[in-house]
């Protein structure tokens, strides 16, 4: 059960391998979600993105969200990695691994966790194009997914 915020990229296969090696009593399902940096915004090529982090609050908010979701879905284990700093298109941004007795618990936990992180965890993305840069705006559709 870990939350990691880091600058460096992660290797998905290595994380799955480590996570699935730990024996959990009555584990019946593991779900993986990976969020990646896109190559384009509309028709504009993205050269890189920068992710700014307010670490203290991101940890606080993420732990709060996870505490609630653990109660709701009764999961056995999780790993969350969220990167910050400079990221190139195609690289990984976020990884969620969850295990539970039944698949619906892990699917529910991972989906709700990413929905909450998108509107509560204090990360900000800035996209760099060839001629300019732009801070990413929060999507109305993401806000609607969570009940505050």
């Amino acid at each position: 059960m870990k939350v990691i915020f880091q600058k460096q990229n992660f290797v998905i296969e290595k994380q799955i391998s480590l996570f699935s090696k730990t024996n959990k009593i009555n584990e019946g399902a593991i779900v993986l979600f990976v969020g990646k940096a896109r190559h384009k915004y509309k028709d504009k090529k993205i050269l890189s993105i920068d992710i700014e982090l307010y670490e203290k609050m991101a940890i606080f908010q993420t732990k709060k969200i996870i505490k609630n979701l653990k109660k709701k879905y009764n999961i056995l284990d999780y790993l969350l990695i969220h990167r910050f700093g400079k990221i190139k298109p195609g690289e990984n941004i976020i990884l969620i691994l969850v295990s539970s007795e039944h698949r619906k618990q892990s699917f529910g936990f991972s989906e709700e966790l990413i929905d909450w992180l998108k509107v509560k965890a204090t990360f900000w993305k800035k996209e760099h194009f060839s001629k300019n840069s732009k801070w990413v705006s929060q999507k109305e559709s993401d806000r609607k997914l969570i009940k505050t």
Binding site: M57, L117, K118, K120, F123, K126, S137, Q138
Partner: protein
């Protein structure tokens, strides 16, 4: 008290934090009004950037919340992680 700025707000103001002294307690919007009156950079930043969010000691609050010298206030545009 410490005030932290992030993302486009930080860029527009031109710094990441301020330390100010307040007597007793004040509402967040009063502090922002005072900053806006003190310097045109703040005035431009706080006027230009919409939907700002506020957090006191890492908890989301609204701008009618009170703060004291012991608090850490963070002001930022809506988050875009994940």
């Amino acid at each position: 008290m410490k005030i932290l700025y992030f993302a486009s707000l930080k860029e527009s103001i031109g710094k990441r934090e301020d330390t100010i002294q307040i007597d007793g307690k004040k509402k967040i919007y009063q502090i922002i009004d005072e900053l806006k009156n003190s310097d045109s950079n703040y005035n431009t930043a706080f006027t230009k950037i919409k939907n700002l969010q506020y957090a006191v000691n890492c908890e989301y609050v609204n701008k009618n919340s009170f703060v004291t010298n012991k608090d850490e206030l963070a002001i930022f545009p809506p988050v875009t992680g994940g």
